[in-house]
Amino acid sequence: MTVTHARALVGNAEIARFEAKSDLTLLRAIARWASRYTPLSGLCCEFNSEDLDSVHQQLHSGITLDITGSLRLFGGEDVLVQTLQEQLRSFSLTPSIAVAPTVGTAWALARFGGKTLTQIDQNIQPHIKTLPTRALRIDSLSREKLAEVGITEIQQLLQISPGALLDRFGLPLLMRIRQLVGHEDEIIMPVREVHQPHLLHTFSEPIGELATIASVTQKLLIHLLRTLEEKHELVRSLVLIYQRAQTTPAQIRLSLSAPSAAFDYLWPLLLPRLEKLNLGEGILSISLRLLRQSRADTRASSFLDSAQEMDHSTTTTRLLDHLLNGFGGEISRERISKLQLLNSHLPERSFRFSSDPLKTDADFFRAQILIRPSTLFERPLAVKTIALLPDKPPSQVQWRERSFRVVSGIGPERIRGEWWRGDHPDEIRDYFRVQLESGTWIWIYRRVSPLSVPSKAAQTQWFIHGVWA
């Protein structure tokens, strides 16, 4: 069903996106949390991370705990289950829990048992009879094939000889049946804490020599990069902590605008800052922590390295990265802005200062052929002029309390206000490039009211909008 279809059915339907990734993260967190009750705490079916988005996975999400060994510790099954339930509710989650002799049965009952809490003993059969075939954790194609011969419940399936099923559905179906009834074991893959690489070097005595400290730092960095390389990951940000004798630790934080795992790139960024470090009474230990990393796109990087000709934009981006990373150490990122070309005929809207230096320019081609002054005034300056109409430049301009004779002028270039915007939508400006007797070229425009274009001199007003240096 599409969202449009859903809206057509239920006019005020609230639509939320299925966020497989964050769901999975939450689930992992719960599983980690639940490992306080048993070390065997895992996600129900191992997620195939490539396949996260499939809705099918949603059905499988949930966690599995092997509580066989932990019952005593927590005062028996009932108490444990109740504790779990209460705890989860206190997280604003609504758990549906089933306790059963096999993982398969628990899985099925938790989802299709119709109750939020089910606890059954060794006799599985009566509890699973009327469950639908989808409670078997089998693929939808097999389910459809079963349904077309009228098999929709597990008890109907159990009537069929295994040989007949094997011929038609292969091993997976049989395996699921055997897991359900306990003829086959199932392994729970426990979740583990994911550790960020953390490297530590401790000196036997406080070291005050920069060279030694730099060389150790270098070694740590190389070590980190090697680990990352194996995992095809890149550094986004890291922190170096220098434990100083007798005083607080010193840190160097490095955040990259573009992730990298190249020593030649990272080291020149670190070294100058290391050189400025106050070593105090000497350094006791150096620790290097990776704060954020990102996956390397191996294909792209090898392409970039080998390709002789990188296209212009890539080169520019790279150079810009270097520049910014270089700045980044000295000047706070927030204070760097870049002139960015925008897509507008109106001069004052044709650029802006952007804090995101990686934003690309608008139509570079078009902007290039326009002739614009080197200085554009923040606000156009109203001036008095003597001008011939209809489309001649002024012959005299009153500017800064002085009167200038105009030597020559080029124009007009007519620019219309952006009618789709609220402010001065009807404004029309006739721009002239004008040279004053002083030699200065100024950019001056006449504001015309629309459609009554030239004639009424009284209503036209002149503004200087910029000067050429």
């Binding site: 011969v149 002739i371 009618w419 789709w420």
Partner: protein, 1056 residues
Amino acid sequence: MNYTELQVVSNFSFLRGGSHPEELIQQAAYLGYRSVALADYHSLAGIVRAQVAAEEVGLRLLVGATVLPRNALPEFENLEEPFPSSALLERNFLPLLLYPTDRASYGRLCKLLTRGKQRAPKGECYLLFEDVCEFSDGLQGVFALQRTNRSQAVEAISSLLRSFPRDALSLGISRSYGPQDDETMELACTLAREFELSLVATNDVHYHHPERAMLQDVLTCIRIGTTIHEAGYHLFANHERYLKPPQEMERLFRSLPQAIRRSEEIAERAAGFSLRQVQYHYPHEIIPAGFTALEYLRQETWKGAKQKFPEGVPEKVSKLIEYELQLIEELKYEEYFLTVYDIVTFARSQDILCQGRGSAANSAVCFCLGITSVNPGEMEMLFERFVSKERREPPDIDVDFEHERREEVIQYVYNKYGRHRAAIVAEVITYRGRSAIRDVGKALGLSLDCVNALASAISRWESREVRLELLKSAGLNTDDQAILTTLKLMQTLLGFPRHLSQHVGGFVIANDNLSEIVPIENAAMEDRTVIEWDKDDIDALGMLKVDVLALGMLTAIRKMFEFINSTNPSSLEEDLLRLHKIPADDPDVYKMISRADTIGVFQIESRAQMSMLPRHRPEKFYDLVIQVAIVRPGPIQGNMVHPYLRRRAKQEEAVYPDERIRAVLERTLGVPLFQEQAMQLAIVGAGFTPGEADQLRRAIAGWKRNSKLLLAFHDRIMSGMRSQGYSEEFAVNCFEQIKGFSGYGFPESHAASFALLAYTSSWLKHHYPAAFTAGLLNSQPMGFYQPAQLIRDAQNHQVEVRPIDIHFSNWDCTLEGGALRLGMRLVRGLKKQEAEKIVQTRTRLGGKFLSLRSLWRESGVSTKTLRALAAADAFHSLQLSRQTALWQIQKLKDHLLPLLEQIQAEDDDSQLPLLSEATLVLQDYAQTGFSLKAHPVSFLRPLLERHQVLKTQELYEKERWNRSNARIAGMVLVRQQPETASGLIFMTIEDETGIANLLVRREVYEQYRPIIRQSTFILAYGSVQGVEGVVHVLVRKVEDLSRAFLGYSSQSRDFH
């Protein structure tokens, strides 16, 4: 000095020009221009209407086109490039304007454009400089300098000068207050000196009046697929590209008067060609050597007459023939009739059923030529009524062919005349309310939700009127500037051409090369070529057009005839059933029609038609003609249906102001039902000339596009009626009725041909119900009903229907004696080739398969095919049910080696769960949409009875009518929201006894929307409304019954 504007694009430069060609011409005349050029981008699509407009205002139209020649063709893989990027590429090419100076150079321009179009994807035109040079003879070229890129310009000019003489190429410059006007001007002067070329002034006109500039900005956004906020430099910097007064142009170019003079020189040369020089000639092949057209037509007509009337041509008919031939001669229509005759003769030689319709079709001549089967001896049809001497309108015959075989006819036309002489007429796809609001809204950056809300707030009928209260109720801010601008611009955009498409079947055939008359482009469909002009353009230039149309019912009727004739022991032609031999005026057939027993019948089978039939009660052929025409938006909108029915039921008298009006309206009881009558009313009542009446016809058809025009006619009609002495009330009434035809009017001549097919199919349904159903089923998809309903209807008419079975079914449905054997074509997801493999294998094996497995192995069909057949329960003769057959098939593996496969033992299927009867029926429905076992609702009947739910059959018992608290349950067959029904939703539901029609009011629909739109089974509460055999249930409340049938799914027609 006289300035002529040479660089003008209209909205036929799609999404570029901001004015209609007519507007540009009118504005030019208003501003005092004596001539003006139209030079659309790569197109001559707008010039015919420009020419017509120019003639009206006494202006000289200069024909031209703008091309963007390039140095190399785009790489092949770039052909599929999405639109926006090709729009970006445009800036790499400089526009070259070309104007023919005589007929021959016009032909070359057409050929040039044809070449560019045929090598480019649809809507594009790729031309090289060398192409332009090749066809340059006699063309005046203006190379429009708009940017200062000297090297590019030098290169282009040098290329062009290889073939253009110096006095045939000029440099065009504009003073449109651009960023570098002075620099461009300087460059132009330098280039002109260097190359010894003249400069010519233009204003690069994109719209006729400055007020269109905003729309032009929006069009640019639509063209490159962006919003106005993002478009930036894609827009023109200012709004100067309007048609400026010549004096203003002279002022702007006061420093360069020679550029103004040059425009006049070019105009004079371009005036050497006028569109009126394009002469059309009928193809010569249609007349055998030694005959004149009339002699040949006369000979063939009489030959046909003798065949059609073996017992001698009745005097009435022979008189008619002679009279018509005389008229045809006078109007010089002989060749037209012969062209159609040739096509129809081909179709007949191939046993392709066809039927002509249109103004000239219902004539004795056409009957004799076999173009139509409406027998002039039996029908009171006046040829003159359709072809009028005074009106001088071009003859019009549309021919419908069997839809499955029309392509053969089209390919015959192409083969006979060649692709260079025959092509399909264009259809100009224009902006309608919703498309206009979508595109404008998106361009102005409105959110998708907002655009959708706006679009749905546009009344479907009056697409010009946006209901503000609807907008408010949809939560839109009606004071919002963007929304208001959208609405305003959208009004102007309505009727703007958006792209060219191909007409459904209109062919032009010429004696000469078509590509020298008009550019030809490839159609979206392979093997088709389309000209750039539409049917009105063709009309205006007096070119022949034959409509080769497709009609499903003809296919079905041919198949019905084949069934019937194949059971006829005699194979003599005179014993066989043919279209023209269906006995006329069979009272039993009319009785059946009056009962609305018309499922499957042509035209009169829809719900709306069926609800009219018991009230109308047709008794003769002309009643059917009216029946076909009356249930149409035109008459319904014009409030003509009820007066007609009242008068027919003799509840009121038709009153005519005088005898002349009576003559026009009497046959339809004083109500104008047909387009012809509307025009005659204008002639008789308001004193229109036939020519004016024809203009009125066009104005009516295009009323939605151009309401100003209709307003002019309104005044003209009112004053005309007044001066003829008719009352104000009558005049107002007449005008409203005429207006009701806007775009939907149905001509009597078409209605007559449709009525004949309606009668024919009714006759077949009445006398040969099994053959009728088989013919329909074998021609699906067509018509109003699903196979399931057709089968059910056949059963209701005592036809024995036998299930699909691998031993007995062919691909098509067949007749087994009197019984109907369903064909494998009804099996969902089954391919025809696969079904045929089975049929062939069956024949090879002597008609018997040993087992499912042997069928599979012997025929080599895929397991997918077997599954489809099993799902349709087609293995019964192998003692396999759907369940057991599927169980066996699940074991078969397409790729398994035969040896391995034999190891697998046949296992028994007794372990499978038993299925209930209801489940089996539901599975039937899920798989094929019907069941020969039972109706699913019958399984719920005990439950329904406990809740006092009526059977649909019981609704037709008069004592239940007007009961307010009825309950009715059934399976949903149809949901419809007809445009004419002011928000009412129609549903048809079915139970085991028949069908019931439900009416759902808007507010009820809103309340139960999910159920009404989604559920397969419903229980409806409401009041029964019955009038003269027509029964509806006005629904108050709906419940979902689907849950009673879990796992069921079926197809039903959704809202269209």
